[in-house]
Amino acid sequence: MKTAALLTGIILSATLTAGPALAATDLTLWYHGAGNQVEREILVGIIEDFNGSQEEWNVVLEEFPQAAYNDSVTAAALAGNLPDILDMDGPVMPNWAWSGYLQPLKLPEEKIANFLPGAVGKWQGELYSVGLWDAAVAIFARKSVLEENNIRIPTLDQPWTGDEFTEALKTLKATGKYEYPIDLGMSDKSEWYPYAFSPFLQSFGGDLIDRESYRTAEDALNGDEAIAFGEWWQSLFKEELAPGTSQSPSDHETGFLDGKYALQWMGNWVAVKALEKYGDDLLFLPAPDFGNGPKIGAGSWQFGISAKSQHPEGAAAFIEFAIQDKYLAQFSDAIGLVPATSTAAELTKNYKKGGPLAVFFDLSAKQGTLRPETPAYAFISPTFQKVLTDIADGADVADTLDAATDAINDNIEKNDGYGFEQN
């Protein structure tokens, strides 16, 4: 009896003498932006605001370089060492959710009601992640160049057809003024390939996987439409309309700005640099329509909660805090990407109505197509990357697509369908 009272007394006095600082629980947050000072500043600002606005939670930031981020997370997951909150690239989320890294994110519906579809991550009907921005891709062009060569300027409602696009490239090549008519960014051998080029495949009518069942890629990746895409893709390099896989990174960075390339298929994160160089002459053209509608990629970095986190309420509170319009606008102004809501867009300098990059918002909303939302995507991505590389280098189109299809189907089977039911 006496010891119990003594113990209780000690515990009570300990908690009473503990200052308010000790009452705030630490939440660890991992972010992929190490080395990127502007993103860091904004994120740190959000964290400070959040920590200052309440006393229950204290968010602590750990940054990782982007190139190594996914590997670090995987290693940490293996070791059971994940943080409370982490960010992830949209298409990877289903794989991480299925692998057990994440737990569902409990946010009130109305908070994300007007978010761009590419900024919301759902898996098996549950919300797992939400992002502060989306990324969009467009054809960067110069009005003067197009007019000089009598090429019709496409609009969002009337994009180029696939044939018009290829014709335009050939016309530009014939002028002899450019090393290549268009820069596709082949030197960036990363997630850029599937992100930037699978929309072309989808515009032809093919796809990376059958989105009805999500259990096979047969006919989607190696059907007639896909083969048509493959042959068109190969022709781009055979006819020297675009630099191929051995493009040097320096050419990719400065080629369009220096006038080496007439057009560039690039994302809005370099739009600001291009705007500075070309000003009013710069146009952002929508993707061409190869028969199945014009498409661009969607889905960028989003925040989620790790499965092992002891404080999902705190983590959710932080994420809810971070997705306020004012922060969406801050990020957008800093890194040039599309803010997740139209209301936030109005607060930005680039994306408000009539702003120089406003067109990207519409592109995202109208043409954005998510990469397949399946855990298999972690395997599909490098596989498709190899398909694009090999076909660009001259491999047989049908065989390459077949091999990739087989590999993907094999992988899906090996993983028992990744949680999709066999029907």
Partner: protein, 293 residues
């Protein structure tokens, strides 16, 4: 007679030096390219790569890239981490490896040959092939900290050091060297009643300058310059990251090549210093080791 001799040796001297210098150019040009590029702004740097200007400090020369690099990443922290981890590992490997090599070369014991072959066999394994199993293993090992016993070695210095102390290559280098030493030294010391440890420390190691230098240089290089995957897997916080992981900080959405070159130039300094320092010790040991002939 004497005149013809000096004329011949003058031309041959000229030829020798020309050959040496030409070859030196081949070996040094990427380094020159790296340092020159670190002084130029990005746009100029990229354009200069197409011509001889890549090697010349022309155009807009400044230290801006260096300042920018320091703002972008905690470079001195990374260098400190790398030097610390590498230094500890090299010291450990030299000690442990030379002890083992001594035992393999000069002593006879059960299972010696089998174990030696097994150790040599480990040289075959590239690290990438055991990375994941090692990660899983290391995560379940206990460690003593100020808070008591904890499980898991991740995110620390010791996880970057301890797995690499035992190393077949170091042992192999020492064994090759020890094999050529005269056995009379050992026999003489045994007759004098010295213990094996004493022989190791007092007789053999003092004359092992060259191999110590070679093994140290090689181990340092491997740990400092080549290690990337392991630190990537096992360090989660910035405070433990080494220089090669830090390199990734510069490859964000827009690669700042000038800063990359500046960063590379900075992190090459410790290695060069270590090498030059050891090279003098290495050369002088060879000159003074009048063992043979």
């Amino acid at each position: 007679m004497a005149q013809a001799g000096t004329k011949r040796s003058a031309t041959s001297l000229f030829v020798r030096y020309t050959v040496l210098i030409l070859i030196a150019l081949v070996f040094v040009f990427p380094l020159v390219f790296m340092v020159m590029s670190s002084l130029k702004p990005d746009a100029q740097l990229l354009r200069d790569t197409a011509s001889i200007r890549a090697f010349m400090p022309v155009g807009d020369i400044s230290l801006d890239n260096y300042f920018a690099a320091f703002r972008r990443a905690p470079i001195m922290l990374f260098v400190f981490n790398s030097v610390l981890v590498t230094g500890l590992t090299v010291a450990g490997a030299l000690l442990v490896g030379s002890l083992a090599a001594f035992a393999f070369t000069f002593m006879n014991w059960h299972g010696r040959d089998v174990i030696f072959t097994m150790i040599l066999a480990t040289l075959i394994l590239p690290f990438e092939t055991i990375a994941i199993p090692l990660l899983l293993q290391v995560n379940n090992l206990p460690w003593v900290t100020t808070e008591g016993l904890v499980t898991g070695w991740l995110n620390s210095y010791h996880v970057q050091v301890i797995p690499w102390i035992g190393d077949g290559l170091t042992i192999f280098l020492f064994v090759q060297y020890f094999k050529d030493l005269p056995k009379e030294l050992i026999d003489a010391a045994r007759i004098d009643g010295a213990s094996w440890l004493q022989i190791y420390w007092r007789v053999i190691m003092p004359i092992s300058g060259p191999v110590v230098a070679t093994a140290a240089i090689l181990k340092f290089l491997i740990m400092y310059s080549q290690q990337y995957l392991w630190p990537l897997l096992v360090t989660q916080s910035e405070e433990y990251r080494p220089v090669m992981v830090g390199l990734q900080y510069f490859f964000q959405l827009n690669v700042a090549w000038g800063e990359v070159m500046a960063y590379l130039s900075i992190i090459t300094v410790p290695v060069l210093v270590f090498y030059l320092f050891l090279q003098r010790a290495f050369i002088s040991s060879i000159a003074s080791t009048g063992l043979k002939g």
